[in-house]
């Protein structure tokens, strides 16, 4: 048993560090260090740089780097610490693996390189107004008509649809069977006539999610992934991947670092907030939770290579559940550290592209929106209650 990296792992880490120093643009690095958002073309350019040696999370034969989970973990840590932008989003992390696992040869050849080169942006069309936690009750219909499907319905909470070129959707292709058995996995070009994207503003003031409407949208049948009516299985595979990577350790670490930084500057009756016992104990308590989560993730990562195909360490089931709770606790710390300086709303200035305020005040001003948005962590991609249902059944056998 050893927490330290092996010689080979350390060499890999050094290589990653060198690669980042050689390739990541200084202005991107600075922007990220200051906690600012990147523009779409900056993200795309960044992705092309990071994917130079293959997509970190993909196997070699599909244009991936072919790294082990431990290597992926090291890469992620280094990218965060640098900082460079982490991922190109859902194309890479969600639909890519579904396409190379279940897609046709034609689909693999067409879509995968375009994702790897950041040519196509993807978003996920799963949730619907009437199908949230009960995802399988989704109603968006796809009716086969010759060599096309005609899609009608609505998706909601679609992150990044405003930037995306494509959407991967769960659609109902057979309304007459058990709800899980009539679902298909369809790739839809967002430029197709009949698709409308409408923004939803969330309580943090930001525009991340959208509604996507489909009105007689004609989709070629070759855009079906795998077999018709087998989409639920592919979605479960995808959500499994999503949960696996969702511990958010890096996000929470960053928040705690920021909270401590804010507390070093904040004054309470002439003394620094960071020197107040009550505050320090609050931070330490969250750090303990985060460390426990991080070690659990490392245990899962380390054991993954030895697991039989298709099985996971039972501990992996708690990563999403616990990860969202720790993310939320760390967001609360940010609020506590910022105190009254959390009040100022900078979202309008941000939207207008102005960013003059000094870094410190800027960090404090981001803390409230961060806290507000953090509430979503225990709701999206399987709410905490759904996670508990899954663990109770699959792991505890209840």
């Amino acid at each position: 048993m050893d927490l330290a990296f092996t010689k080979e792992e350390r060499a890999f880490r050094e290589e990653v560090r060198q690669f980042l120093r050689d390739n990541v643009l200084p202005e991107i690095r600075r922007k990220l260090a200051e906690g600012r958002k990147l523009a779409k073309d900056e993200i795309a350019a960044g992705a092309r740089i990071l994917n130079k040696r293959g997509v970190p999370t993909w196997p070699k034969e599909y244009g991936g780097a072919g790294w082990t989970l431990v290597q992926q973990y090291i890469f992620e840590e280094e990218v965060r610490a640098f900082p460079a932008q982490l991922t190109f989003g859902m194309g890479e992390s969600l639909v890519g693996p579904v396409i190379y696992t279940f897609g046709s040869e034609v689909q693999k050849k067409y879509y995968l390189p375009r994702i790897a080169n950041a040519e196509d942006w993807w978003c996920q069309g799963f949730s619907e107004p009437g199908a949230g936690s009960d995802l399988a009750s989704l109603k968006t219909r796809a009716v086969r008509n010759g060599d096309r499907y005609v899609v009608d319905g609505q998706k909601i909470w679609t992150s990044g649809a405003q930037y995306a070129d494509w959407i991967f959707c769960l659609v109902r292709t057979d309304p007459d069977v058990k709800k899980q058995q009539g679902i298909s996995f369809l790739l839809i070009d967002l430029k197709t006539p009949g698709v409308t994207v409408r923004p939803i503003r969330l309580i943090d003031g930001d525009h991340v999610v959208n509604e996507v409407f489909f009105d007689s949208v004609r989709v070629p049948i070759e855009n079906l992934v795998g077999e018709e009516n087998k989409g639920w299985g592919y979605a479960k595979y995808l959500l499994g991947n999503e949960r696996f990577g969702d511990a958010g350790v890096g996000i929470s670490k960053e928040r705690i670092r920021l909270a401590k930084e804010l507390a070093e500057r904040a004054c309470v009756r002439g003394a620094r907030l960071i020197d107040q016992t009550a505050f320090r104990e609050k931070v330490a308590a969250v750090e303990v939770q985060l460390k426990a989560l991080e070690i659990t993730q490392l245990r899962v990562v380390a054991s993954a290579s030895k697991q039989q195909k298709g099985t996971q360490d039972p501990a992996s089931s708690i990563l999403k559940l616990r990860g969202s709770e720790v993310e939320q606790a760390s967001a609360e710390l940010l609020m506590d550290a910022a105190g009254p300086y959390a009040l100022r709303d900078l979202s309008q200035e941000e939207r207008e592209g102005r960013n003059e305020p000094p870094v410190g005040a800027y960090g404090a001003a981001r803390s409230a929106p961060t806290y507000f948005y953090s509430r979503a962590a225990s709701i999206y991609s399987g709410s905490s209650e759904i996670q508990k249902n899954i663990i109770a059944k699959a792991i505890l056998g209840l």
Partner: protein
């Protein structure tokens, strides 16, 4: 005298086995594995024979995946002298196992092969008998007592209705039953010693054995669960229930 003890890696006896969702077999992912308890008794008996000066060397052999090396290490830590792992990733049926063991016997030339009467995973109870058949050796199965002299072995067998004693001419095969002995735990000194004991890796082809499956598993299902029992207050009540409720008397 050299003893050969075949050991099998099976689901730990304390784990509740679960059938895979698709019914293709028993779920082995994330399940604790251990040495087959009957084989463990065989290892213990071999060690006792050695401690009593009746044997000089104990060779343990396992046929199975790479992880079966763990099972062999357990036997070495109990006190066996060296180990042979015959690596096969697929499930091997008793006949396949017996063929490999015949090959091992021909190379190692033990005077006695001691093994469990059956493995607790498939409960076949065939390997020892098949090996005796293939080698044309004497066999004493279901042993609850073993006495070994220079070229004979006396085996007390647990059979229906009592004990039977058979006298075997060596070389021979003995399969052991539950009540033969209480196996020891691997102690730290022996665990440390086991580290230095040799473990050779082989494949079935090294012994010219064909381990291809001859059987096809059609489906696997869990046994129906037992109904809740009742406690009876007296013998009379029991007899009454057996007569009038169960209808077996």
């Amino acid at each position: 005298m050299k003893l050969l003890v075949p050991v099998k890696r099976v689901i730990d006896a304390n784990v509740k086995a679960r059938v895979k969702a698709d019914g293709s077999g028993v779920e082995l992912a994330n399940v604790k594995m251990a040495i087959n308890p009957f084989d463990e008794i065989a290892v213990e008996e071999a060690i006792r024979l050695k401690e009593a000066g009746k044997a000089e060397e104990i060779v343990v052999v396992s046929i199975g995946p790479a992880q079966a090396a763990e099972t062999l290490r357990t036997a070495l830590a109990m006190g066996a002298d060296r180990a042979i792992l015959v690596k096969v990733d697929e499930l091997v049926e008793p006949l396949g196992v017996a063929k490999v063991l015949k090959g091992v016997v021909e190379v190692e030339r033990p005077r006695l092969v001691i093994l469990g009467k059956q493995a607790i995973d498939d409960d076949s109870n065939q390997t020892g008998q098949m090996l005796a058949g293939l080698l044309g050796w004497a066999q004493g199965t279901f042993a609850s007592k073993v006495e070994v002299a220079a070229d004979r072995a006396r085996v007390t067998r647990e059979v229906d209705g009592g004990l039977q004693t058979v006298d075997l001419k060596l070389p021979a095969i003995i399969t052991v039953d539950l009540r033969l002995n209480q196996p020891r735990y691997a102690s730290l000194p022996n665990i440390m010693k086991a580290k230095k004991k040799p473990l050779d890796e082989k494949v079935p082809a090294d012994f010219g054995a064909d381990v291809k499956a001859k059987l096809k598993v059609i489906k696997t299902e869990e046994p129906s669960s037992r109904k809740t029992g009742v406690k009876v207050g007296s013998v009379a009540e029991l007899v009454d229930k057996l007569k009038n409720e169960a209808g077996v008397l």
